[in-house]
């Protein structure tokens, strides 16, 4: 008796459909990796008192990945044919100013220690890790034209070195940038050296530290050790009525209790990152200190930290107190970071 042959052709059709549909998504498709792909592990170093750093399993740190990311950071090809044409990351984030800039009337957040961030941008528009924010930068901010990168004489080989094939897509571009961003670590300021008992504060800096770390100034609640930001959002009393450009976190959550809240920026290298606040309204550190001393404006979402009994009319700092506090803030400056050749332009 002959057995009836079963028809399995439908299986092949289904497999083809899944294969083709997988190829259409430029971000998630992972091209074949060559069998001899063997990138060099990158040893990321940071102070032992920094929080433990989690590296995503799908984007391990490699020398080749960091090299590619660094090149992309400084390359205007990242923006060619896009809405930010002519700009690279470094156009607005200059190493000498801790990867921010000093343009009046604007305020870009400094690129420092972002590896520990869980949300990004002043309003926290992007949540997640560096891979998530870089995806936003590549796809939404720069709208990077992959064909521009593919046409470059060097990038195909650099992508091959970093990811095991010459294929260039937005995911790999974002991942390379994320690897470079992870190396942007500042942990050798005087603040760090004093913590490590390698150096001592001056008398003025010590007085400033006392203001920073006690109820007198209460800076420590938002600018926590050692990252000098707790990566949360606060209304720090800039406005009593919030105009649309100052809605802040409300623009992301739609929650009225987030009206006027903005991300706590790190104070690392704050001496270098003027102007200050989300809209760059303060040009100097003294102006910032004076805001907290006498200029806090009340609104329904003013942070509870700003409403201490006895402080309703300001901190009551003398001129000497303010000078001391600014002196202490300047101890967060890390000259090795802003002069590190490994972080500068490779071109």
């Amino acid at each position: 008796m002959m057995r009836k042959r079963k028809n399995f052709s439908w299986i092949y059709i289904v497999a083809m459909v899944f294969t083709i549909s997988g190829c259409k998504d430029d971000y998630t498709y992972v091209p074949g990796i060559r069998s001899d792909f063997d990138p060099t592990p990158y040893s990321l170093e940071y102070p032992e008192y920094f929080p433990n750093l989690q590296i995503p399993e799908d984007n391990p740190m490699t020398v080749e990945g960091v090299k590619l990311g660094r090149s992309l950071y400084y390359d205007v090809k990242l923006s060619e044919n896009g809405p930010m044409e002519g700009f690279s990351c470094s156009a607005c984030h200059n190493q000498t100013t801790s990867f921010s800039n000093n343009v009046a009337g604007t305020s870009v957040l400094a690129h420092v220690n972002l590896a520990w961030n869980k949300s990004f941008l002043w309003e926290g528009k992007v949540a997640g890790n560096l891979e998530d924010i870089m995806k936003f930068e590549v796809e939404a901010f720069f709208k990077t034209d992959m064909y521009v990168l593919k046409s470059d004489p060097n990038y195909p080989d650099m992508y091959d070195d970093a990811f095991g094939s010459t294929a260039i897509n937005s995911q790999r571009t974002a991942y390379a940038l994320a690897q470079f961003f992870r190396t942007l670590i500042s942990g050798n300021s005087k603040y760090d050296r004093v913590y490590r008992h390698e150096e001592s504060y001056t008398e003025s800096e010590l007085r400033g530290q006392e203001i920073f770390l006690t109820e007198r100034g209460d800076c420590f609640h938002c600018h926590t050790f050692p990252l000098l930001t707790e990566n949360l959002f606060h209304n720090n009393g800039l406005d009593s009525v919030h105009s649309e450009e100052n809605y802040g976190r409300y623009n992301v959550t739609g929650n009225m209790t987030d009206m006027g809240l903005f991300k706590t920026p790190t104070l690392r290298n704050v001496e270098l990152t003027a102007p200050y606040m989300h809209d760059g309204r303060y040009a100097t550190l003294h102006e910032v200190v004076e805001h907290y001393n006498t200029g806090v404006k009340h609104s329904n979402t003013l942070d509870p930290i700003m409403t201490k009994p006895g402080k309703e009319f300001g901190l009551g700092l003398t001129q000497q107190d303010k000078d001391d506090l600014v002196a202490y803030l300047k101890t967060f400056t890390d000259t090795t970071y802003i002069n590190n050749p490994n972080l500068g332009s490779p071109f």
């Binding site: 929080p51 520990w116 006392e210 006690t214 926590t224 707790e230 979402t301 509870p304 201490k308």
Partner: protein
């Protein structure tokens, strides 16, 4: 396997077990009827305000004083969870657990090797005892670093940060209940008997209004910010004795 190999295996196993037992941070105080077998306990922590579910960032709750308030932040530590038996025997799990009411993953506490049997009640601390409450004593996670208590103010960690806003006049004002320092360790007693078997799941429910209730009826308007105010921190710490119940 010859006799020497068997004996060597037993010795090695014995060394391993003794080292493992020595490293476990628990204490057992025997009583007249000390349980021999042990079980595991999973504590699931949940939150309410006098029976109402907790919703953040909305001023919808009212405390005994009459403050209408909401909650924007609730972070704290639980440590020294102690099971007290009917005959006086105790089992204490000393580990310091970080909890954030907004982070589900932190609201589960696992306790292993609890002697099976009947217990009359539970005790625990909100905060860290003086042996643990030292700067940099906890792992360097983002959460622990953000809970630092400044060195000039005593060092160690915040025991609890509870923040939010309350209605005042035609607007709202913030409050920040930050408690720390060794004298303000918060002792909680849960006067409910429990039976521990091999595997146990216990829901601990925090009634947030208890922070403002007993023995001090707390008025947020007169003391909206208490860090550094020893008297007010002690009032909140004292009110915490009844903060949890078993559901």
């Amino acid at each position: 396997m010859n006799l020497i190999t068997k004996l060597l295996s037993i010795v090695i196993a014995g060394i391993f077990l003794s080292v493992n037992f020595a490293c476990t941070k628990t204490t057992v105080e025997p009583g007249p009827s000390t349980p021999v077998n042990t079980g595991s306990v999973q504590f699931d922590i949940s939150y309410e305000i006098d029976g109402e579910s907790l919703y953040y960032d909305t001023n919808r709750y009212q405390n005994d004083f009459g403050n209408v308030y909401g909650i924007t932040k609730l972070e704290y530590y639980i440590s020294d969870i102690t099971f007290i038996g009917e005959t006086g025997n105790k089992f204490t799990h000393h580990r310091v657990n970080y909890l954030n009411a907004k982070m589900d993953s932190t609201n589960v506490i696992h306790v292993e090797n609890v002697p099976v049997g009947n217990y009359s009640h539970l005790e625990l601390s909100i905060g860290l005892n003086s042996d643990s409450n030292l700067s940099n004593n906890l792992p360097s996670t983002l959460e622990n670093l953000n809970m630092f208590w400044p060195e000039p103010m005593g060092g160690g960690y915040h025991f609890i940060k509870m923040e939010g806003r309350f209605v005042e006049g035609n607007g709202a004002k913030g409050y920040a209940m930050h408690v720390g320092t060794n004298t303000c360790l918060i002792a909680v007693t849960i006067e409910q008997p429990i039976v521990i078997g091999a595997q146990n799941q216990i829901e601990l429910r925090m009634n947030i209004n208890e922070w403002f209730r007993d023995p001090i009826i707390f008025d947020l308007a007169t003391a909206n910010y208490i860090m550094g105010d020893q008297e007010k921190m002690l009032e909140i710490a004292g009110n915490g004795h009844n903060i949890f119940s078993i559901k």
